[in-house]
């Protein structure tokens, strides 16, 4: 059987056989040296030794419980949404439970203060909320969902803010910045998209100008501009926290891209929908909010999540304006003479963390697409 499969997929014809052999040889050479390096030469101890730094940066160890509480609240909202969209989804639920047990059993979270307890609480919150969301049923759960997220984010922020934001760092800061950049950029992007498609020439011109201007320049320059400009607008003795300046730059940048995705969705809504809504006597505002936007946004959810992933990856640019995100923490560890020359280990670990985050998000996006029946309606 395996021979038949190999003949069909690897050795069907002389050209393919040659291709297979060459690729296999190259893979073997590469794989061998990588594995040899990973198990013999690499000194991975740098990762567990600095795990707290990578995860929360200079956050005071005694206050790390705040991060766990915030994580629990965040996962509660995540679980609630999953439950609301997917229902019990028994297979996914049991798979998630097994995975969580596995994560829990692996020792690394124990490297953080209060790791065992905190992780347990956070995972518990995820599954309780999942069951809760599924139990309420899709209609009620979806209506509550927005409030769960808003209140949840507020509580999480309040808990975290017990420590001033200039001591946030590592993955914590990366995630917080991503969430806030997405949440704040979305309404701005919506407005810009509506503005660009508007029939009023002035508004459409201004929106188009903004969108094209921002899309024509690199993210670093927008971050830098926000970095330079924001302090000029506030009184001299009032210091704007670095994190806020950084997020402001991200919001300005991401809104332009989000706007283009939403515009794509808006253009996909048939004209008849507008006319039908007006014929029913809905005002312009009501038409947009209750008829057009729900359809437009539904159609572009995958693109929007793609943008969220892009923002998550782009927060690594914070290092250039001196905010202590995950990548900056990696640089900080590497500048420690004890860990000199361990660039490969550290950067591979950082890549792994980003990969986990981005891959999870895109997996969820694909599931969400299917759950909402996108493309099949």
């Amino acid at each position: 059987m395996i021979w038949a499969w190999m003949r069909k997929n690897l050795f069907n014809g002389p050209g393919n056989t040659l291709l297979t052999l060459i690729t296999a040889y190259l893979l073997f050479v590469l794989g061998r040296s990588v594995l040899l390096w990973a198990f013999h030469e690499a000194r991975w101890a740098v990762v567990p030794n600095n795990f707290r730094l990578f995860m929360v940066g200079p956050y005071p160890p005694g206050e790390v419980w705040r991060v766990w509480v915030a994580l629990a609240v965040f996962l509660f909202a995540v679980g609630f949404s999953i439950g609301a969209v997917a229902g019990y989804a028994r297979r996914a639920l049991s798979l998630g439970a097994v995975l969580s047990l596995l994560v829990y059993a692996l020792a690394w979270p124990a490297l953080l203060p209060g790791g065992r307890m905190g992780l347990f609480a956070a995972l518990l919150a995820l599954f309780l909320a999942w069951l809760l969301g599924a139990g309420l049923g899709p209609r009620r759960a979806r209506r509550l969902g927005v409030w769960v997220w808003l209140v949840g984010l507020f509580i999480a922020l309040e808990v975290l803010a017990g420590v001033p934001s200039n001591r946030w760092g590592g993955l914590l800061l990366t995630v917080v910045a991503t969430i806030f950049a997405v949440v704040l950029a979305f309404p701005l992007g919506l407005l810009l998209a509506l503005g660009r498609t508007s029939r009023m020439p002035v508004i459409s011109l201004l929106s188009t100008l903004y969108i094209e201007l921002v899309r024509g320049v690199p993210l670093v320059t927008v971050l830098f501009l926000a970095w330079i400009m924001v302090p000029l607008f506030v009184p001299e003795n009032f210091r704007v926290p670095q994190l806020v300046r950084g997020i402001a730059g991200f919001v300005l940048f991401a809104a332009a891209y989000l706007a283009e995705y939403v515009r794509g969705g808006l253009q996909g809504v048939p004209k008849g929908q507008w006319e039908a809504a007006w014929a029913l006597g809905l005002s312009g505002f009501h038409t947009v909010v209750f008829v057009i936007l729900p359809q437009a946004i539904r159609a572009v959810i995958p693109a929007l999540i793609g943008q969220a992933i892009a923002i998550f990856k782009d927060t690594s640019l914070f290092i250039i304006i001196g905010i202590m995100d995950l990548l900056s923490m990696a640089q900080a560890v590497l500048s420690n003479p004890k860990y000199l020359g361990l660039e490969r280990e550290v950067y591979l670990f950082v890549m792994f963390v980003y990969f986990l985050g981005a891959a999870t998000l895109s997996y969820l996006s694909r599931r969400l697409e299917r759950a909402m029946g996108l493309g099949s309606r």
Partner: protein
């Protein structure tokens, strides 16, 4: 018919809204500009571009600048005694250098991987998939750091460097064989530039292409016969701790180029794959039943059709690559943004500088998208989109 009162008239309201919005935006801009201006005066750094002609006083590790010497305009390496605007020029030069090289290489790699994703060969297929997923799901900046600190700087120094196909791969960068003007270059140059012009004529004027390119080829051959060897390939050679001959790609340039190429290629691969998959299966089957080989099918039937779908998003990726080259500051390659950073530090003109930088990037973006649109109009179906 009853008249609608003016405050309920949609047209009047629309005009009022637009006037209000424009006034608000104008007001906000004026307010922001004024506050910023005042803020800058309060900090003792009034807004002015006069610093551009002052002496820069720092060095830039690579790249060329525009200079006027003995009444001739020429390109030469940047010197500390040059002005700030010349430093900016060097930055633009370096950005263009890495972006152009990157665009060419990433297109090749991206198309290869994209076709590999569709290969019936399981191993190639999975390999291409793994490549795309790994590269797309990690930040470019981390990859750049990895290539620079984790790969290139870990290479052996020149003395122990390995030689591959005439290249020398070392910590000090990549040394590649490079054509340099030979003894006949000065006589050959007019023929060469003539051929370049004819090549461009052929690219943009399809009807005259055969004649233009034929004439161009004739000119090159004729020039070679008249002038003798125009180019000599200079091969790098190790001499102790140094390398002589060839062209050096600095470690920073190599890292930026490598990471941009690898990263962008993963996106191009997905574009290529999507475009090819979107073609009806019947196209393949029809080509096979006409007796074309898989390679011929791809080259003659599939790719020309896929190009129509590929070109606009491909242009977007070229734009992204150019904009992403601004991350070069992280590894110290002196691109536009990096040079700006030095200038801002030295002169304190961060706001003026960033406006110049943004203007340059905007111009680059508009130029690239104009070129892509021009090309797109040629590959698009006649009459499509009109």
């Amino acid at each position: 018919m009853q008249r609608v009162p003016f405050y309920k008239d949609v047209r009047v309201l629309g005009v009022l809204l637009q006037v209000a919005v424009s006034l608000a935006v104008l007001g906000a801009l004026l307010f922001l500009g004024y506050t910023a201006y005042q803020g800058m005066i309060a900090r003792g750094i009034p807004f002015t571009f006069s610093f551009l002609t002052q002496e820069a006083g720092f060095t830039i590790s690579e790249g060329k600048t525009l200079a006027i010497e003995h009444g001739r305009i020429l390109l030469r390496p940047f010197q500390p005694s040059d002005a700030y605007w010349q430093a900016f020029f060097t930055g633009v030069y370096n950005t263009l250098r890495v972006s152009l090289a990157g665009i060419v290489l990433t297109t090749v790699l991206g198309v290869l991987v994209g076709v590999g994703r569709l290969s019936s060969n399981w191993l190639v297929n999975r390999l291409a998939f793994a490549y795309v997923e790994l590269v797309r799901n990690t930040p470019l900046l981390v990859q750049m750091f990895f290539w620079y600190f984790g790969a290139i700087l870990k290479l052996p120094p020149v003395r122990q460097a390995s030689e591959l196909f005439g290249m020398i791969v070392s910590q000090r960068g990549l040394f590649v064989p490079w054509p340099v003007p030979g003894p006949g270059w000065s006589h050959f140059a007019p023929f060469f530039w003539g051929a370049v012009v004819l090549l461009l004529v052929g690219v943009f004027w399809p009807r005259a292409r055969r004649y233009a390119w034929g004439l161009g080829a004739l000119m090159l051959v004729g020039g070679y016969l008249i002038a003798g060897d125009p180019l000599v390939i200079s091969v790098p050679e190790k001499r102790g701790f140094r390398v002589v001959g060839g062209a050096q790609l600095s470690p920073e340039f190599s890292a930026v180029l490598l990471s941009l190429v690898v990263y962008t290629a993963s996106y191009i691969a997905e574009i290529v794959r999507g475009a090819i998959q979107s073609l009806p299966r019947g196209q393949w089957e029809a080509a096979y039943s006409l007796g074309l080989s898989p390679g011929q099918t791809l080259r003659l039937v599939i790719l020309p059709q896929a190009m129509r779908i590929i070109v606009p998003p491909l242009g977007n990726q070229y734009l992204n690559l150019t904009k992403n080259s601004s991350l070069a500051i992280a590894v110290g390659y002196p691109d536009l943004f990096n040079v700006y950073g030095t200038i801002a530090n030295q002169s304190g003109r961060s706001l003026e500088g960033i406006l110049i930088v943004m203007g340059v990037y905007l111009t680059l973006s508009l130029t690239i998208s104009a070129l892509v649109n021009l090309y797109n109009r040629r590959v698009a179906l006649r009459g499509a989109g009109r």
